[in-house]
Symmetry: C2
Subunit: 350 residues, 2 copies
């Protein structure tokens, strides 16, 4: 166990896992464990008294980047953490910590884009907090957004449809809900947020500018729940889809097999990853969701996804088997094990 906190502790993946398990769960895990979805589950959101509740602090650098800014990122990211539980987000909080000297017009632009995404997602920001710290106490601005969500009939209907085909033990879309036979759907192209941040920050010039995929997914999720049969969902942010698929596999105690040829990725992002020697599976996404769905409804959910602007490039990327771990059938026909990344290779992407 390290004596000091290092960057990889906050990057998603194995090292953060161990920090969270060692410390956060040791202190917070036991008390409150009777919640419908407790902290212990380490899901995207908790559920207490029927209220879905989540929080995220955003430290992205730089605060403005191609395709978004810290404002749109924070609102969309938190809306998504509620949406992937199957709940409807109904209210957001926004707590700003600002460095003294931060320009007022930048703050203006950030608040504007928070509001724009809040309206797009139809989730109002209802409460907030503002702190200012002296120069050097912080870089630019940190934004925490938390959110609450509620259960809807749409989620109940969706689960009823799934239960026509097999038992689903949990009443929310938790990570542990997958069973052999389920299909895994990815809503679009991977690694865009992380690579957009990295290339912008480092000044890399690729053929065309790679843009972050920041977007609120709650409307999309509701339209998919109406199709029915969805048992789990998660937005593959820090640690990329490698992290999310391993979370699914571990918590559901299943093996997940995915096909490299079906994983959507743009040529630009692929070239960038090749050039930089990084694995796009480990790179964070923002406006993407990985969905687990009972086999019988997979094609219907895929069709609904493709009709939505945020799901146009979606694919059924794999299926759930008996066993353990995440296996990828590669383009050249081999198989490789996909591990949880040690840490997201790109720091401060969210």
């Amino acid at each position: 166990m390290d004596d000091v906190i290092t960057l990889s502790h906050g990057a998603g993946g194995e090292k953060m896992d161990s920090l969270i398990k060692d410390l956060v769960l040791r202190y917070f895990g036991d008390y409150g464990k009777d919640a419908e979805v407790p902290l212990k589950a380490l899901d995207d959101a908790a559920v207490v008294n029927g209220i879905v509740f989540t929080t995220d602090s955003h430290t992205v650098q730089p605060v403005f980047f191609p395709g978004g800014d810290i404002g749109s990122l924070s609102v969309a990211g938190t809306v998504n953490d509620i949406a992937v539980t199957g709940a409807r987000p109904i209210a957001l909080s926004a707590a700003l910590v600002i460095e003294e000297g931060f320009e007022r017009n930048k703050l203006d632009r950030i608040l504007q884009s928070m509001q724009k995404v809040a309206i797009e997602a139809e989730v109002p920001i209802v409460t907030g907090d503002t702190k200012v710290v002296e120069r050097g106490g912080l870089q630019d601005i940190i934004i925490n957004t938390s959110a609450v969500g509620i259960r809807t009939d749409i989620l109940d209907e969706n689960l009823r449809e799934a239960r026509r085909y097999r038992d689903v033990s949990h009443d929310w879309l938790v990570d542990s809900n997958l069973r052999p036979g389920d299909r895994i759907i990815l809503s679009g192209k991977i690694a865009e947020h992380g690579i957009a941040l990295l290339s912008f920050r480092e000044g890399y010039k690729f053929e065309s500018e790679i843009k972050s995929d920041v977007a609120p997914l709650n409307k999309l999720m509701e339209s998919l729940l109406k199709v029915g049969g969805i048992v789990t969902a998660k937005d593959p942010t820090r640690g990329g889809i490698a992290n999310t698929l391993n979370e699914f596999s571990e918590k559901s105690n299943v093996r997940i097999e995915v096909f490299e040829e079906r994983i959507p990725i743009s040529n630009d992002v692929k070239s960038a990853c090749d050039m930089l020697g990084i694995d796009p599976l480990e790179i964070g996404n923002e406006g993407k969701v990985i969905i687990g769905v009972v086999r019988e409804k997979a094609e219907d959910v895929l069709k609904a996804l493709r009709r939505h602007p945020l799901g146009r490039d979606s694919e059924i990327i794999g299926e759930v088997k008996e066993g353990k771990g995440v296996i990828m059938e590669t383009l050249i026909g081999g198989k490789r094990r996909i591990y949880k990344p040690i840490g997201d290779p790109i720091p401060r992407i969210c």
Copy 2:
């Protein structure tokens, strides 16, 4: 309007008011205004669909101080923001942003004290987030705590009791609920948190060490609501009781008269304030609450308060009149107007 954000923008008081009114309300105020307690009300918490929701980011420096640390401060402060609405807090979130190199044993101590206060308050931490930023990106650690609360019969009973004596238009303990005739009760000695922080930080030596009054007030609030007749409550944090009383006066559109001789303050804190030339009315408190109660129930509420360890030094400090502003009758018999401070004179106390 300033072009850059300055420390006083985050210190509570007039300057922060103008930042919030100019920017936050301009962008976030309109959308979501149909909430039971909307952002526009600028109360301690919002109420949406019967769910009480609040957020606070904590940047206190240093992170350990006499009487508490950033962990106890964040949990107690957020529990209190729910409690002063009259609701029962039922769940907390904790989002940590940590500077690379922060010592693990310090993180341990902070999490420990968060959990200690959570258990004391009987409000579990159910969801969280951890980010790590590179050295220099932040000083030590910032903790956001958000919380949700629910309505209880105790609040309904309390309001029913108040309505035996006069009309109370709002169903939560909002700042705008005061009416002429009401009494103002303060639960204990003022300025302890701010002065403890300042004297510890600056190395001032007073006769005895002044300790922060950090404490969760939800159990106390529930015991007072059982007495009944309470129409509003607020914890006088940033900007001190000067700020809170002015908030009450402005939002309720009443005049508040307080008596200096009845405002509880320790000799140590008084000497420290005299020596430093600062007004204890403007200094932030943590484990204190100012309560507005119908006249007929004031003595009963005071008695109940004094039976509780956190209310032993409570006093009825003033009353509500027709008119505007906050007036203090001084020890020497004069009257002075108490204004909203421009900013809390002590930065980073929470």
